[in-house]
Symmetry: C2
Subunit: 437 residues, 2 copies
């Protein structure tokens, strides 16, 4: 069993090295605690740029941040690759894939995963994009489908391989649609002289009447305009009925033949077993009080996407964005120290820095409080914010160099199929030889 070491400091176990967990771990450096950070990967993922990994303009490594390499110097922190099987609040024990762990304080920062709203068929055939392995799978699928398209003899046979349908017009869907259409407009016929630009189509679908739902009307309208000018087919007020790997059907009867459906239409919290059912709210979020403490517990906290902080000021919780997780991570660290010292805790207060989304080169939308702007300047702000938010100098530099390179000729990125993507049931259908060994 992992426990606190010989030190007399209490053990804070943080589950998840996303934005919230990592911030909490950092903020506890030099504090009178021991920190044990757990994650299923040995790296932190900068999720806002996953879509650029999927389209091949950035390599996975440049948006991943090695936990050991970067936290080796924090003396009071240990890191383990592990997943939590269940929490036993009565005994202050975690049952994990590396054995039992006894905690003094527990921070649940497990984030969210793709929500298919119970549709098993769509879950099986559509591609999620919430992790690096998922983004890479999507990249390989896109490239494999372009290769398959080249092998087809007729335009009709090529169609399903060249129709890309993105469901969910939040920032992920919008940014991925923009990146895919730029790939089509600037790279497709260079790499595949056998194909025509117009052979490939990108559809962005949402059941709501607008893209970028939570942003201003102005941002949302302009983003749609940008996308359509670039050639994306934006389909709003459209609900998906089914997708069987070949044809996506909408409730209004429309169908699109496609081998590639990307699902970013919703997320749900990743709640470890052992949290009382009554404390799990809509979207699989754990209900917490104003200091991120799980309702009904003394020393268990939940922050970020997995948490719903329900207070008089925030009856619906906070939006599922990185800034909430980061600010909660910082606050929770402070409050744990307060609790240890027997001092009063300070309630969390979210400082909304605003929203940004990029659509393509020179095109982004920004809502910064009352200031709303779109286009080139918003795009510069988007790039700046993402560069400074990326952890680590190496990653900042790599991404910056890549962006400069891509800007000069659109043709950055390597577009290699390193590991072929195969659905578990795929065997005979696929023409591409199995390149995984």
């Amino acid at each position: 069993m992992e426990t606190a070491t010989q030190s007399k400091f209490p053990l804070v176990v943080i589950v998840g090295a996303g934005f919230g967990g990592l911030e909490a771990a950092k903020s506890l450096a030099d504090k009178p605690v021991e920190v044990l950070l757990l994650d299923k990967h040995n790296y932190h993922t900068f999720q806002p740029l996953l879509y650029q990994v999927a389209t091949g303009s950035l390599e996975a490594e440049s948006i991943a941040f090695s936990i050991r390499k970067n936290f080796g110097q924090q003396k009071n922190l240990r890191f383990r690759i592990a997943e939590v099987n269940s929490i036993s609040a009565e005994t202050n024990t975690l049952d994990t894939t590396i054995g039992d762990i006894k905690y003094d304080y527990l921070v649940i920062a497990t984030g969210s995963t793709t929500n298919f709203f119970g549709n098993k068929q769509i879950e099986h055939f559509a591609m999620p994009m919430k992790s690096i392995p998922e983004a890479l799978n999507l990249r390989y699928l896109i490239l494999q489908n372009l290769e398959e398209a080249v092998l087809q003899k007729t335009k009709e046979a090529r169609e399903p391989y060249l129709n890309f349908v993105l469901v969910g017009a939040g920032p992920t869907g919008v940014e991925l649609a923009g990146a895919l259409i730029e790939l089509r407009n600037h790279v497709l016929t260079k790499d595949y002289p056998e194909l025509q630009t117009t052979d490939m189509q990108v559809y962005l679908v949402d059941f709501m009447p607008k893209v970028l739902g939570p942003m201003s009307e102005q941002a949302s309208g302009k983003a749609k305009e940008f996308l359509e000018k670039m050639g994306v087919q934006v389909l709003l007020n459209k609900k998906v009925e089914s997708y069987d790997g070949e044809i996506i059907k909408f409730e209004d009867g429309q169908t699109i033949k496609t081998k590639s459906v990307v699902w970013s239409a919703g997320v749900m919290g990743v709640v470890p077993k052992g949290i009382k059912q009554e404390n799990i709210l809509r979207g699989n979020k754990i209900q917490t009080d104003g200091i991120s403490r799980v309702v009904g517990t003394e020393n268990i906290f939940a922050i970020g996407d997995v948490a719903a902080m329900i207070t008089d000021e925030t009856p619906k919780g906070h939006p599922g964005v990185a800034q909430v997780a980061i600010q909660q991570g910082k606050q929770i660290a402070k409050n744990i120290v307060h609790m240890i010292k027997g001092e009063p805790t300070e309630p969390f207060k979210y400082f909304d820095k605003g929203s940004l989304a990029t659509v393509g080169r020179n095109k982004a939308v920004a809502d910064l409080g009352k200031i709303k702007f779109q286009g080139f300047f918003a795009w510069l702000v988007w790039m700046f914010v993402h560069l400074v938010s990326l952890l680590g100098f190496r990653n900042k530099l790599t991404v910056f160099i890549n962006w400069v390179g891509n800007y000069s000729n659109y043709n950055g990125g390597t577009r290699l199929i390193i590991r072929k993507y195969e659905r578990e049931d795929q065997t005979e259908e696929q023409h591409l030889p199995n390149t995984v060994n």
Copy 2:
């Protein structure tokens, strides 16, 4: 069926985009032929630097060269991801994973794969390192074993995770041993403060009495000295008897407990079906005449590692190195054009540029004809030669930047476990959670 297009030029099908196949394809640009290049990957692999991918100091993408991106401009070339099932020499037809292909000239440039000399147990448990997916698997295995080591409570339990045994002391084994021991000496305790440098051991094993067999006594002796000074345990005149995933046994009775055995003790040609058995020589190489033509055929050629060019001057063929493949690729292109024009062909003559191997920072050995030197200058030459040989400006730049970065602090590389490596039979044993999704 893929055939020549409407053009009246004969179709040259090249199977394999390694050093030889790629050079042949390039050399046929602007010649009166159509070229169809096939490979199971959509990229060329710069194999000499695979070991740096395995140890995490280079990313896979920087030693892979996208075929479509870089050959998009060659008008007479088409590329397809495909593998050859069999050749029918009588009908000039290839049976491939993308259907039948009728060729006028066929160039077999399928290279070599790891030779386990028929030992199925070793093949199952040892790691090969001949392709990018294999190098990545090895990287993940190394990192996973370090993570497992941290979880063990006793030095004895940690041992098998921290013993790395490399079988085969050719350039691959030597270079990998050097890179691993540098990882141990400079990174291990930074990333894993729980471990001690001396906990990790690197063994380099060969059944021959020297490392770098085909190189000069001087080079070989100095390489061994470099390795041992850095801490590698070099075990010569030692034959492997068995490896069951836990313990490697040698014929002299010695055993080492280890979870990581890397096998680079031999290669064998990858010969497509349909080549007459009588033309397949030792090491699975296809016998060719002095113009790389497969014995007994008119229009089928074999070059590089899969070929054994047996002539009076070269009764044993050529060494299995990149330069032979490159020079044969160039020559075969010339000769195909000669044959088309009804001109006499020119026999191949290998120009030996010499051999280089690196052991570590500031340490390499070089045999350039009669000039033999070792140490810092050899290392500079090694770096220069590898940088200029890397295809593509982007790759040269990325590798150069990485090397400069690594030189300044040894601590380059990202060391992420993006896809967990699992042997097919592994299920319960492993502690690490499954991180592949």
